[in-house]
């Protein structure tokens, strides 16, 4: 491990990489602070830039920096404006916004930054310990197990993403898989479902789809329903210091939530949102009686808990990405797409074949967290000025960047029409409360899933691999269980709530 760390330090401490981390964090904070723009949109917008860098390590470091920055920026806007840009920072606004209203915005931001820093750093240490372990296990996997693992990942995402609406999330995952089959298949390179259109021969562009699924609907929602920005502008940011007693109060919270958040983040489909809400709930339950009353009214513990868990979970979500090559969240799915575009296939071999990528990402996590704490925090009063950019200028710019991202990737104006078309479809889906992240994850995993499926079919000359390999069978059973369990539990809860079996 020490050797790996040195490789990572060597790569990550060059001037170029440091510039990437700092630039990524700053850009992420800037855009992440704008209410309504989540990390997925920002990363989608930044991907063309990252890909044109050409160096996978630099690209991943830049995107990871953007990711941390966006999460930090998101918590800033939930503290200052009560307008969380990301679902993962909603819990931050429970206690952060009351603190800002009491005139303690500076203190709230500092606590958020320290909690994020600790959560991210402890998460990175845990990642460093667990990722090599997991990847040495993963080296034993056969393509049949990979196929089964991806099925488990997809069904976990379907089960967790649609809260109580498993069918919708399942539908979206399937739709993503269906879209992935458009274009030339790996099997015999036959074009499939192209309807004779030449532009579809290569399939749908992943960047185009990512933009259309996240950035464009979010921008359209901003147009449709302008947020009230006037309320929070009055709170001035000053007095960034916290006292020793406060630090002592939040230290155990940070310790607990880092570990808990990390392990929740590792689970596919769970991610930062669940981690932050669960962290908040757990800390409220174990706090003393009079501390419990403070929760929701500006408790520092209530602010530190979701922030720590949020960041630790974001780090944790890198574990399945880096060791198995299976993303557990929308954001890591986009990162996986970018890596594949750069000709790197994440998986257990990544640590052996290209250790500099793996370790430099981990080192850049430390550096990124440090940058956020040292550089971003003092700059926050100035960065917060971005919140006063008039919406009339902001929205055309966001839309322009989505267009640009899709255009640069393919250099093809048809791609822009596809982008707008899918963007409208995605907005309609968002109206009807269909989760969009499963679609993109399904789309990105679709090719890999089919490849591994085809490989095991060919090796076993049929589907017998499902019952001949116990591990595959076990994983597929887990997947089936994940899909069935939530609907079964919901059904039971309904029956119990009604008191009797409901007739119709």
């Amino acid at each position: 491990m020490l050797e790996g760390l040195l490789i990572g330090l060597q790569t990550a401490l060059s001037v170029q990489m440091l510039a990437m981390v700092i630039g990524g964090c700053l850009i992420g904070t800037f855009i992440g602070m704008l209410p309504g723009l989540g990390p997925m949109s920002i990363i989608a917008i930044m991907i063309p830039v990252a890909i044109s860098l050409g160096d996978p390590a630099a690209a991943l470091i830049l995107l990871a920096g953007v990711y941390y920055g966006a999460i930090f920026g998101g918590s800033t806007s939930s503290i200052l404006l009560n307008a969380p840009g990301v679902a993962g920072t909603v819990a931050t606004s429970f206690d952060g916004y009351p603190m800002a209203k009491q005139g303690k915005a500076g203190k709230a931001l500092t606590i958020a930054a320290i909690a994020s820093f600790c959560g991210g750093t402890i998460g990175a240490i845990l990642l460093m310990i667990f990722a090599p372990m997991l990847s040495s296990v993963a080296l034993l996997f056969h393509s049949a197990e990979y196929f089964a693992l991806m099925v488990v990942g997809l069904s976990a995402i379907a089960a967790f993403a649609g809260t109580g609406q498993v069918a919708k999330a399942f539908m979206m995952t399937t739709l993503g898989l269906i879209m992935a089959t458009v274009g030339e298949g790996t099997l015999f390179s036959l074009p499939r479902f192209t309807m004779g259109i030449m532009d579809l021969q290569t399939g749908f562009g992943f960047i185009t789809l990512a933009m259309a699924m996240f950035a464009l609907p979010e921008a359209l929602f901003l147009v449709l329903k302008p947020r009230d920005n006037s309320s929070g502008q009055s709170s001035e940011i000053k007095d960034l210091r916290i006292t020793r007693a406060e630090a002592r109060a939040i230290a155990p919270v940070i310790g607990r939530q880092s570990v808990q958040g990390f392990f929740i983040g590792v689970l596919p489909g769970a991610g930062a949102t669940i981690a932050s809400f669960l962290g908040y709930a757990v800390e409220r339950n174990i706090a003393t009686k009079d501390e419990q009353d403070q929760f929701g009214k500006g408790s520092i513990k209530g602010l530190a808990a979701p922030e720590t868990a949020n960041n630790a979970a974001c780090t944790g979500s890198f574990v399945p990405l880096l060791t198995l090559g299976i993303p557990g969240s929308g954001t890591t799915a986009i990162l996986l797409g970018a890596l594949i575009a750069l000709n790197v296939s994440p998986g257990p071999r990544l640590m052996i074949d290209e250790p500099q990528i793996f370790w430099s990402v981990i080192i850049s996590m430390y550096i990124g967290n440090l940058v956020l704490l040292i550089l971003n925090l003092p700059l926050i009063p100035y960065i917060a000025k971005v919140l006063s950019v008039p919406r009339n200028y902001l929205i055309p710019f966001i839309m322009f960047f989505t267009l640009m991202g899709a255009y640069i990737g393919q250099n093809n104006a048809t791609e822009l029409l596809i982008l707008v078309g899918f963007g409208i479809c995605a907005t309609a889906l968002k109206f009807a409360d269909y989760p969009l992240a499963p679609l993109l994850i399904g789309f990105i995993l679709g090719g890999l899933l089919e490849d591994n499926f085809a490989r095991s079919m060919q090796l076993y000359d049929g589907v017998s691999f499902i019952w001949e390999r116990p591990m595959t069978l076990g994983l597929l059973l887990i997947a089936a269980f994940l899909i069935v369990l939530p609907s079964w539990r919901a059904r039971r809860a309904r029956i119990r709530a009604a008191g009797i079996a409901d007739g119709d």
Binding site: F170, I178, L224, P396, M399, Y434, A454, G503
Partner: protein, 222 residues
């Protein structure tokens, strides 16, 4: 007490599962008549009654079910291609392979049809919840602006090549601000011009991706 508000009716009708569809039909018949008094009366033609009922149900279907219906059609078309037409051109040596290019799509089509039917028929009960934007009252939001911006994006896609990057981008940013209600003309022009120039410089010079800055007749090649 029959629910008379349309929202209540929508909610009520969504709470059914497949097995009780017919019971729902008999119970809801009279409420549907309140809502759609001019729908044809099929009580005499017994065989047509369920069809009319389904048609009426669809009229008050929520958006998520409409989408499920569209997706069902999509999956059926996809499945038809995968099951019946795709394998026709397969070479004999490919047919000896245990997996064909159509194998995976066949599985997916079955999954997709199942999922869309579950949503369409409401087999999975879920509470009606209004999201961030209530699409039933879409007119209350800035719908015109959103449609205008989408149209502008399509226009941009069509004009990017002929007009060149600088003109198209500047125009897009200017008109985008205009659609959103900005009227400070000079600021708009300056912002659009500077942004177009800076982005072109970054993409073209720093990232090294060539984009024709000016229209073809003014010297931009490609």
């Amino acid at each position: 007490m029959p629910p008379l508000l349309s929202e209540d009716l929508v909610f009520h009708l969504h709470g059914h599962r497949l097995l009780s569809l017919f019971r729902a039909y008999y119970r809801d018949r009279k409420w549907l008549k309140i809502r759609f008094p001019f729908a044809p009366n099929t009580s005499g033609v017994w065989g047509l009654a369920p069809i009319t009922f389904l048609c009426k149900r669809m009229l008050i279907m929520a958006l998520d079910r409409w989408i499920a219906l569209i997706l069902l059609g999509l999956c059926l078309a996809y499945g038809y291609t995968a099951w019946f037409t795709m394998d026709s051109g397969l070479a004999p040596f490919m047919q000896r392979n245990p997996i064909w290019p159509s194998t995976f799509p066949k599985i997916l089509s079955v999954m997709g049809i199942t999922a869309s039917l579950i949503i369409l028929l409401g087999l999975e009960k879920s509470e009606q919840k209004v999201g961030e934007i209530d699409y039933r009252r879409l007119g209350d939001y800035h719908l015109g602006q959103a449609i205008g911006l989408l149209a502008l994006m399509i226009l941009y896609a069509l004009c990017l090549r002929p007009i060149g990057f600088l003109g198209a981008t500047g125009g897009f940013l200017f008109l985008g601000a205009f659609i959103l209600g900005e009227r400070r003309w000079i600021v708009m022009v300056i912002v659009a011009a500077i942004a177009a120039g800076v982005v072109w410089y970054l993409v073209s010079e720093v990232l090294g991706i060539y984009m024709r800055p000016l229209p073809g007749f003014l010297g931009g090649f490609n």
